[in-house]
């Protein structure tokens, strides 16, 4: 009995040693991990060929980048495009924080950047309003903040804001529908939105509704998903149950669109056509093949994060955007939202993100 006891304690001491070893190994992995990451990506488009003196090497710029969890392809493409910049610009020291949907943790990440006194922070907040206080703190500490995609609710919280054109996206989708259905005043139009609590979703819906109103149409059914495949499948399944006859669907996002198309196939419905959003590779290939319900999509660039980082670098190195006459980096950059149909899909396929 007693011998067994000392044997047990030796075993548990070994276990403690194992734990220590495991933690040590994991932390060593932490040192080597970031080197591997840079080599692993082939996803995301290669950045357009850089030109001009702005790309000449300048002083080293330390930029802290934080984005939400990459639970859908568009968000993953944002972070991958940012990582790709590391190879192009040797004067760039990128600190990429882990993707998280927990605002508490994302605030903590920005706090860490402030403590480290980085030269600039590029932030795609999970929720713009929730991250505004910490962004204000960063600006007050003298660190310029570049706000990407999901806007803060205070103009003083960021030096530069890089957005897609959410209202314009809705308008483009609405105008396309007007083109196709304008002569049918009773057309049943459904909308599958993204995360409803985000102002950008509200903007897209507003643009859509306004454009439809111009030709006398309106949205008959609206559901909301969360940009993820599962939520898209769920929302679409509910929608198809609720509306036995649909003429057209606008789905805000092609990532959740994978789930939406799956639900449509499962239900065996095809009396309508669908317009997507964001512009994923899968969606464009569907449009090209022409045998599904997906007929068009509206681009919402996944390059915004990388654009933000490039602008941050210009800001810190005190350079200007070379194609403009103005010497200061712009306050707001809003990227364009073109409509992609079978006619022009070949032009956009190369720069599309993987879902």
């Amino acid at each position: 009995m007693r011998l067994r006891t000392s044997h047990t304690s030796r075993r548990s001491r070994r276990l403690i040693g194992l734990v220590a070893g495991a933690v040590a190994v994991l932390s060593l992995a932490a040192c080597t991990g970031s080197a591997q990451d840079a080599q692993e990506d082939d996803e995301g488009p290669a950045p357009a060929a850089a030109a001009g003196s702005n790309d000449e090497e300048g002083d080293t710029v330390t930029i802290g980048f934080s984005a939400p969890a990459a639970d859908h392809g568009w968000m993953a493409a944002i972070t991958n495009n940012v990582r790709d910049l590391e190879g192009d610009y040797p004067d760039l020291d990128l600190q990429i924080a882990e993707g998280t949907n927990d605002v508490n943790l994302q605030i903590s990440q920005v706090e860490t950047f402030i403590n480290d006194e980085v030269d600039a922070i590029v932030l795609l907040p999970f929720d713009g309003a929730a991250m505004t206080p910490i962004a204000l703190e960063a600006m007050a500490a003298g660190i310029p903040v570049i706000n990407v995609d999901r806007e803060f609710d205070d103009p003083n919280a960021a030096r530069v804001t890089v957005l897609g054109d959410n209202y314009g996206m809705g308008v483009s989708a609405g105008q396309y529908m007007c083109q196709e259905l304008g002569d049918n005043p009773d057309a049943v139009i459904a909308e599958i939105a993204g995360i409803d609590s985000l102002p950008l979703t509200q903007d897209r819906s507003q643009g859509f509704a306004d454009a439809l109103a111009e030709c006398g149409l309106d949205v008959s059914n609206r559901v909301a998903a969360e940009f993820t495949v599962e939520s898209g499948e769920e929302a679409a399944a509910n929608l198809l149950q609720a509306a036995p006859q649909i003429d057209a669907i606008w789905n805000h996002d092609d990532d959740q669109g994978v789930g939406v198309l799956a639900a449509i196939e499962n239900a065996g419905r095809d009396e309508f056509f669908m317009v997507g959003g964001a512009g994923s590779k899968q969606a464009m290939e569907e449009i090209q093949s022409g045998d599904g319900v997906l007929r068009a999509t509206v681009i919402y660039p996944s390059t915004q994060g990388a654009d933000g980082v490039k602008l941050a670098r210009l800001l810190v190195q005190q350079k200007a955007m070379s194609d403009l006459v103005e010497v200061e980096v712009p306050r707001l950059v809003q990227l364009y939202a073109p409509v992609v149909t079978a006619d022009n899909v070949a032009d956009f396929l190369d720069s599309a993100f993987e879902s």
Binding site: E98, V103, D127
Partner: protein, 360 residues
């Protein structure tokens, strides 16, 4: 000589074969060794031993942080960052410790937090607060938390519905209600008094951290030095015996769930002040983090034994781990694996220590 014969006698009882001098020497050595073992065992199975493992783990993670990032980790600012990160989930975990010690379980803490944050920041509440005092918002959050706790407690104690199912239902219902009330929008805090009050520092330490430390201290006193705490341990250890001993088990259970509900309400206020928003998306998966912290802290999932100090260590371990990963630019996946490993190893170690403590 006498000792030798005693040993020989006992060994004769256990083992009829007459011991040779060599084996006797081995036995004496084993006896001495066992004496030493039992002495260190009594230390190890005491509170020092239980928490020693946690302290070692925390020190290891801090060491990893210092090794990989030097004084970026070891600065006062970074320590405050870790504490701020730990504060909100810490308050929830303290409440969860009580529930788990009492033999229960609460999966709905994150959802209750979201509902509290939404209710405290609705247009109506904020209007009322503008007219009177920002304490209205505090009251709203705490009241909502307590109300959800009452519902949980009554269903579990009097309705005899298993805690897992009850709190699972509350998880879904509370978040759904939060989405309905907020209309799935983020609600922004416009009452300046509230923002100013909660974002102040006390002697350079953020108010959020002070609140966490106060709640932890109060929790420790409540669990270890009051009859409420004794009753909680009794109810968790053996509810039938507790009932026979005269404790109103049902009422006590309800009080435990109200307590964790209040903690959720308080945590909601802390999160609202940190983000100046109330939202139905706050507190996602907080229940898992809270349970993980409580479990690795040494509180038994089956109830009957609880430790606030352990929970605080558990919360700090996860927060520090998160911070070290952030400083090293690691992604969520690696950290999630590490978290899982830590939980499993911690529970295995605890079970081993518990088995040894009961074996002797």
């Amino acid at each position: 000589m006498t000792e030798h014969r005693t040993n020989a006698d006992t060994s004769a009882v256990e083992n009829p074969v007459a011991p040779s001098p060599g084996s006797v020497a081995v036995e004496r050595a084993a006896a001495a060794d066992a004496d030493r073992q039992s002495r260190s065992q009594s230390i190890m199975s005491g509170s020092v031993g239980r928490n020693l493992g946690l302290v070692v783990a925390l020190v290891l993670i801090c060491a990893a942080g210092v090794i990989t990032t030097g004084d970026r980790f070891a600065s006062v600012d970074n320590v405050l960052t870790i504490l701020r990160l730990a504060s909100t989930i810490g308050v929830v975990s303290i409440g969860m410790t009580f529930v788990i010690t009492g033999g229960g379980f609460d999966l709905s803490v994150g959802a209750i937090l979201a509902l509290s944050s939404v209710w405290a920041t609705t247009f109506a509440t904020q209007n009322m607060a503008e007219d009177t005092h920002w304490l209205i918002m505090v009251f709203a959050a705490l009241a909502v938390g307590a109300a959800c706790g009452v519902v949980n407690g009554v269903l579990i104690a009097y309705g005899k519905v298993v805690p897992f199912i009850t709190t699972l239902a509350m998880l879904a219902a509370a978040r759904g209600l939060a989405e309905i009330i907020s209309e799935r929008r983020t609600q922004i805090v416009s009452v300046d008094g509230f923002r100013d009050a909660f974002s102040s520092d006390v002697l350079g330490v953020p108010l959020l951290v002070i609140i966490f430390l106060l709640v932890a201290a109060a929790g420790w006193v409540l669990l270890n030095r009051t009859t409420f705490g004794r009753r909680t341990l009794a109810v968790g250890g053996n509810p039938e015996a507790a009932r026979l001993a005269g404790i109103n088990v049902n009422r006590h259970t309800v009080m435990l769930y109200v307590l964790v509900g209040l903690c959720c309400g308080l945590a909601a206020l802390m999160l609202v002040s940190r983000t100046t928003t109330g939202s139905a998306t706050h507190g996602l998966y907080y229940e898992l983090d809270a349970i993980a912290a409580v479990v690795i802290g040494g509180t038994l999932l089956s109830g009957g034994r609880g430790t606030i100090v352990g929970t605080v260590f558990g919360v700090l371990i996860f927060a520090t781990l998160s911070n070290v990963f952030t400083l090293n630019n690691q992604d969520t996946s690696t950290q999630a694996v590490a978290k899982g490993l830590i939980i499993v190893v911690a529970v295995l170690l605890q079970q081993r220590l518990a088995r040894r403590a009961t074996a002797t």
